[in-house]
């Protein structure tokens, strides 16, 4: 009989341009995590999964897990490893930890994600992004930095479904306003539609606020079983009900959709996660989706089934992603405003939905009982989804 996995606690350090080393950021995030659950001590943790993709390039450090274990004061006895799925690394870590605790191969697993991307010379991280996509076939064409790819995606969404620049801007406005009071977000300011519409061009039709920034940061959460969690907390338990990770291609020429705005692999991942969680899109009360670009969130709300395919622009433009809307999305500010230290993002999302389901989020969704997190990674090559709930799957 498999055990039930829960997310027990979590925390993150201040995200942004940080005067700190990669291992400093992990230490700060681990402290924030233990502050969230004072009854739990580092010695209680028996497993560690580290999510960091740029440690090798920007910090000259591979085999990161033992390095982080030592710095955060845990001594793993069941698992101590790193996963690298770039933007989905944190979610991948949570999926792996879930499987391990469900199977009884680990009891209390720390999932820690982080990146130090700002190096002493500004060119280096941009240049290293050539490694974020298939190096020899896409990076070599200058597709490492993602704005051109998502500019093409936005154009094809506009061509096929008639979405507008104003609808994209509505996503940025919603997410910035969610983050305005988030003390650990990179961007803590309100944004108006006018500001978003008049921002400097990045790659048309994308302008400044359509794109998430480059971010230093880390986040840490704890995955364990419901029985163990009960020994440490009286808060409502937040179960990991179902997960999915879909990868159908790597090179952009083999993109699985009919065009770049047809994310059939997102839909496939959603259907799989919904089936495993025994819920449907209509049950999701709050979601954190991968808003690396405003257009991403527009397409994600479609493919995840929150609205019909092609109506994501209307959905986001008519405040359905805001508190009081059909499915509030990225309620802590998302990637656009919190920032995006790749391996940490999925953990940040997990922490926000944990707080939502426990009724202690900054922008609380009333009666939230089922929540979803989503990441995309690479040149839109992989989709990762987790569904959390107040009850286990029965």
């Amino acid at each position: 009989m498999a055990r039930n996995a829960v997310i027990l606690a979590g925390g993150q350090c201040k995200w942004g341009v940080r005067e700190a080393h990669l291992v400093d950021l992990f230490q700060e995030a681990a402290k924030a995590c233990f502050n969230d659950i004072p009854t739990l001590k580092p010695k209680d943790v028996d497993g560690l999964i580290v999510a960091s993709s740029y440690a090798g390039r920007c910090s000259f450090q591979v085999n990161t897990a033992p390095v982080i274990a030592e710095r955060v004061g845990v001594k793993p006895t069941s698992i101590c490893t790193r996963c690298d799925t770039l933007c989905a690394g944190g979610s991948t870590g949570i999926i792996l930890a879930t499987g391990l605790v469900q199977a009884g191969a680990a009891d209390i697993v720390m999932v820690a994600g982080g990146e130090k991307l700002y190096t002493p010379q500004k060119w280096e991280v941009f240049y290293s992004e050539l490694a974020s996509v298939d190096h020899d076939w896409d990076g070599v064409h200058g597709m490492g930095l993602p704005p051109p790819f998502f500019a093409l995606t936005a154009q094809e969404h506009m061509m096929h479904y008639g979405s507008t620049k104003e609808q994209l801007a509505a996503v940025s406005v919603a997410n910035y306003n969610y983050a305005a009071t988030n003390p650990v977000a990179q961007m803590q300011k309100n944004l108006t539609l006018e500001e978003a519409m008049n921002a400097p061009v990045v790659v048309p039709p994308l302008t400044l606020y359509d794109c998430c920034p480059i971010t230093d940061g880390a986040a840490v959460c704890i995955i364990t079983t419901d029985e163990i969690a009960r020994k440490f907390t009286d808060r409502p338990l937040v179960y990991i009900r179902g997960t999915a990770q879909v990868c159908l291609n790597s090179v952009s020429a083999n993109f699985p959709g009919a065009h770049l705005a047809d994310w059939m692999h997102t839909k496939m991942a959603g259907e799989k996660a919904y089936a495993r969680a025994k819920v449907g899109p209509g049950d999701i009360k709050v979601a954190q989706t991968h808003d690396c670009f405003s257009i991403s969130e527009v397409i994600e709300v479609e493919e995840l089934g929150f609205c019909k395919k092609g109506e994501g622009g209307d959905f986001c433009g008519s405040k359905q992603i805001e508190i009081g809307g059909k499915v509030p999305v990225n309620t802590d500010g998302g990637l656009l405003a919190c920032g995006h230290p790749f391996g940490a993002t999925g953990i940040r999302q997990g922490i926000e939905v944990m707080k939502q389901l426990q009724g202690r989020a900054r922008h609380q969704v009333k009666d939230a009982d089922i929540a979803l997190t989503h990441n995309l990674s690479g040149a839109n090559a992989e989709h990762t989804i987790l569904i959390y709930g107040r009850e286990p799957v029965k």
Binding site: R57, L130, V140, H141, P148, F149, L152, V203, A253, N254
Partner: protein, 165 residues
Amino acid sequence: MAVLGIPILEDLYPSTMDMWPLEAKEFNRNWQFYENLKQGRLTTTKCKGCGLVSYPPRVICPECYSEDLEYVDLPKKGKVIVFSEEVKGVPLGFQSPLIHAVIDLGVDPARRVLSRIVNCAAGTLKRGDEVQLAVFEVPALPIDKGKLGTVMSERVFFAFEPVKK
């Protein structure tokens, strides 16, 4: 040439910082792709076992796992389906305007190939425009051959360019 802050790297080649593929036979079993490019041919591999044409080229067929593959030519002309143009903030290694296009080469599996568009002024490309293969030299790969010293292995890469009307 001095490397700022790391004097020990003077005149050394770090492949971990190379934006171009390691195309040489010593480092790449798909070296023939690049040799064909030097002849002005855009090619990929076809499986002699099951007939599958893969792009990019492989050393093993992803469908039937046969190792019996041959190089076949892809069309050198295609049509622009959609494109993006980056004028400011172009990353190191590329010139402004940095133009990317999804190109239809008219055959599977090359109906939506993402490529850089070169030899094209900003603001002149249009959807539906015809583009053609453009092969260009990139810096040679310095390979350490022990007692023989360092041998420079010539390299090329490709993009597409507008067909002159």
